[in-house]
Amino acid sequence: MKKFASLLTLLVLMLSACGNGVTVDGDNEGNTDDASEATETVAPEDMTIGLSLSTLNNPFFVSVQQGVEGVAKENNSTVKTVDAQDDSAKQQNDMSDLIQQGVDIILVNPVDSAAIESSIESANDAGIPVITIDRSSDGGKVVSLVASDNVAGGEMAANYIIDQLGENAKVVQLEGVPGASATNERGEGFNNVASESLDVLDSQTANFNRSEGLTVMENLLQSHDDIQAVFSQNDEMALGAVEAIEAAGLSDDIIVIGFDGTDDGLASVEAGDLSATIAQQPEEMGKIAVQTAYDYLAGKDVEANVASPLELKTK
């Protein structure tokens, strides 16, 4: 114990003793406005785009990547892709690696809106403009957020359930990664409508993950025997839920609505397993993000919020 105490005192002493040499990232925040303003224009063929994705273990973000790389290839831009594997700390390392390489612009799909803030500040300090994709950042200077209107999508899903089953239908909600803006916004949109006109029995997180969607749905089926509809905040969880419902032999009694419109999700809608999905167009989102980057680095004005299209897909 004595050793810990002395180690601790040493660290604290060290930090406080040499106070005058200490600086902190983001200290020169005053200058960042000049630094991150695109003063010189960069042509697409000379452009190196850094793309930091939350995970490539999810088909949605693979589609975003394909969209980005497709447009970039047509225009002869270079893309450097890094994959955070859903770990905020790894994403921070990825972001600093991109900053080190001196890319012209960073497109980032944050793992977590709060945790990404300091990376975006570092990019601001280095004078590299940042565009966020699908999820926003809580801070730092961001050129644009390219995302679907998730609130509207959530409302769309709730209204679809009302159309199908009438008011006061009994629903459960499978939520995404806690704290992610997509989770908050889709939930908000859904609850806007559902709190008035639907009977929400339960809301549980399955972290946007198919296997968790399966187990969480199994548990929900154990605790509620009167579920009529499931709103899942993404298709992956919805597909897991469909498996659980099929295994329980309740496919005819429960409708499942997904969100995202991934290839698997759309195929499942076609097959009649998923009742509907609120389709985002991730590839489109990636394309729009690159186009926004081109516009910005060509000196054009860009919107702070760029909406990527959404569509209700049913059989």
Partner: protein
């Protein structure tokens, strides 16, 4: 060949194996900088060292544990729980310096609890820390309700821990080096350090020789917990928030670093210096392959292959 020459050539080979990890690191650095000149820039090297510091601290603690013949799978969960509790204190207006001290103390206590289950409960370290790993993760989820705790960056002290620089050198790097020096002295120059090796080399012999083996084991898990929480404190500063899922699978990189550094998984042998080199190797693989634009899928394969090669070399060294 005379007998003398024979021992000399043997010691040369031995020496070569001993330097194996360092040579691997140098080869890797030359290879990466050949493909990407950005790698050797001072700013990237400092960036790399800062990235390595989290894993290095955890791996230092893991070295103590593994030298006693144990393993600590709970490091990532201890990191998450202690940093969530610290962040909770800071956000509720508690003095940040006090909150950090409490966080470090709690981290040590969490490690101590694992050690207690292992020694008093006579449970295999793998099982005991597997259990505490999920318990601590669960408590973290309950405490944070699954949401990140934000707003810790309001405090300058917290900011400095992870994002600060002292004369241009990142604070996490300085903390890691200071901890490295202190722990090296503790492990390699004190009676306590010799006891740690003795427990791992032959626990019964150590016990008969009058070493309180239970207390030594307790202490290494406390050290591991302390260092995990220290790593967590640097992370909450860098991420400006405490993440409930922080530290998942960090035990893997830590164990890999220890093994790469030549520490024997059966205990009794290993050095902190080796672990530092091992952590640098793992960090260089991550950073270098990122700079080279290698897909993360391949990065995982490369990491695994490097570990296998290192352990094969290690085994030859022992033969």
């Amino acid at each position: 060949m005379s007998r003398k020459e024979d021992t000399q050539s043997f010691s040369f080979v031995n020496w070569l194996y001993k330097l194996g990890p360092v040579i691997a690191l140098i080869v890797l650095i030359v290879f990466i900088s050949f493909f990407n000149p950005n790698f050797l820039q001072t700013s990237n090297l400092l960036n790399l060292l800062r990235q390595v510091s989290t894993n290095a601290l955890i791996a230092f603690g893991m070295t103590f544990v593994i030298i006693t013949g144990g393993i600590d799978l709970s490091v990532g969960s201890v990191l998450a729980l202690s940093s969530a509790l610290t962040a909770g204190l800071v956000v509720s207006g508690f003095n940040p310096v006090g909150a950090v001290a409490i966080g470090l103390l709690l981290g040590s206590v969490f490690g101590l609890i694992s050690g207690f289950i292992i020694t008093k409960g006579k449970m295999a370290p793998f099982i005991a820390t597997l259990a505490t790993m999920t318990i601590y993760r669960g408590i973290t989820m309950v405490y944070t309700n699954g949401n990140p705790i934000t707003g810790v960056g309001e405090s300058r002290f917290i900011k400095i821990l992870g994002k600060g620089y002292l004369y241009g050198i990142p604070i996490p790097v300085i903390i890691t080096l200071v901890v490295f020096v202190i722990l090296s002295i503790l492990l390699h120059k004190t009676a306590y350090g010799r006891k740690v090796y003795a427990v791992g080399g032959n626990e019964d012999a150590a016990y008969i020789a009058g070493i309180n083996t239970g207390r030594i084991k307790l202490s290494v898990y406390a050290i591991s917990g302390f260092l995990s929480s220290l790593a967590g404190l640097m992370l909450i500063s860098r991420l400006n928030s405490a993440q409930p899922t922080a530290g998942s699978a960090y035990e893997m990189d830590a164990i890999a670093s220890v093994v790469l550094g030549g520490t024997s998984m059966t205990g009794g042998r290993g050095t902190l210096w080796g672990t530092l080199v091992g952590a640098l190797l793992i960090g260089t693989i991550n950073n270098g392959l990122n700079l080279m634009g290698v897909s993360s899928f391949y990065q995982q394969i490369v990491k695994g292959i490097v570990i296998i090669v290192a352990v094969l070399l290690d085994r030859r060294r022992n033969d």
